[in-house]
Symmetry: C2
Subunit: 208 residues, 2 copies
Amino acid sequence: MKLYHWQPAPNPRRVRIFLAEKSISVPMEDVGEGPRLRSDYRANYSFAMVPMLELDDGTQIGEAMAICRYFEDLHPDPPLMGVDARDKAVVDMWERRAWNEGMAGAAEVFRNTHAAFVDRGLPGFSEPVPQIPALVERGRRRVAHFFQVFDAQLAGRSYVAGERYSVADITTLCSIDFAKMAKIDIPRECTDLRRWYETVSARPSARA
Amino acid sequence: MKLYHWQPAPNPRRVRIFLAEKSISVPMEDVGEGPRLRSDYRANYSFAMVPMLELDDGTQIGEAMAICRYFEDLHPDPPLMGVDARDKAVVDMWERRAWNEGMAGAAEVFRNTHAAFVDRGLPGFSEPVPQIPALVERGRRRVAHFFQVFDAQLAGRSYVAGERYSVADITTLCSIDFAKMAKIDIPRECTDLRRWYETVSARPSARA
């Protein structure tokens, strides 16, 4: 198998952190070329996004959390997607919230402001997709909302989904660092989120 | 436990179909009031979205797929989220693609055109979020892309993730019917998607 990724992008990083937390080693290839994905990669994988895990039978698994789920099933320890019905649901819920509120908002700001993404307003499209300036302001509001919601959730909790580190932390961390790439930092008043951010950023996996 | 839902909304329908496919009966309450969620519901659940499953211990589980995952763990048969590592990953991938490409695109068109959603451009916000007219056209492109991708995937396959009905079918079906609410129908040339749509729409669960 091989994991196709792109070092600076937030979604492949979610998988790299997951694998580091599990101490799983997978052959990887960086398919970035300047601010784009290499054309041979896009030709081989029509969805033209990263990450993508190609299995030995040729199956191409896209979507970061789907790849993580594959490894969670094969290597359950340490569990990163919950341990019983309630816990699995709570982890899944917070992971999706981090994605829908944090990553999506940061992407709106980043993709609609960055010069390298002119006419690349959406990932995975081969034809031009114009940037929408109004999404920059709206993306900022989504990220501000995300910071508030996750700061409140982390009051009195060690991790986003409770007392165990999980994929909810991974997506939250990668969303925050993606927001930083769009020049948005955690507000000073979000003290619980900031404390959590320092803790999870200090884990060796955060450098994956 | 109780499942809070809203009959016309696409996301609670995903859970109702899932429960119907599993033959699970759960107490439900419709919290819609005209084109909004009831204020007492919004006061009890700060995320102000549906569906939400409240457990007897008070835990509130939001996000349709997180609720489904809870029931998948407690009632594994019939499996709707995959049966082994590869299958679980493939189902998860296609479910997320249906969400990211279909449901998100349909939501962009619906929320930015419908008169009842003026100043409600995003779900879950208490302050006004203006509609963005440019998102209507972009949402249409996302939905068109979604139709093409899923039509190609369904060529030679019974269901979205292979030969077994799964949550990937549920989210795809609910995305298509949500697009219909935004006055977008499956293109005539997407014959595989249309054949699949007729088949899954004929299942008793589709009326849930």
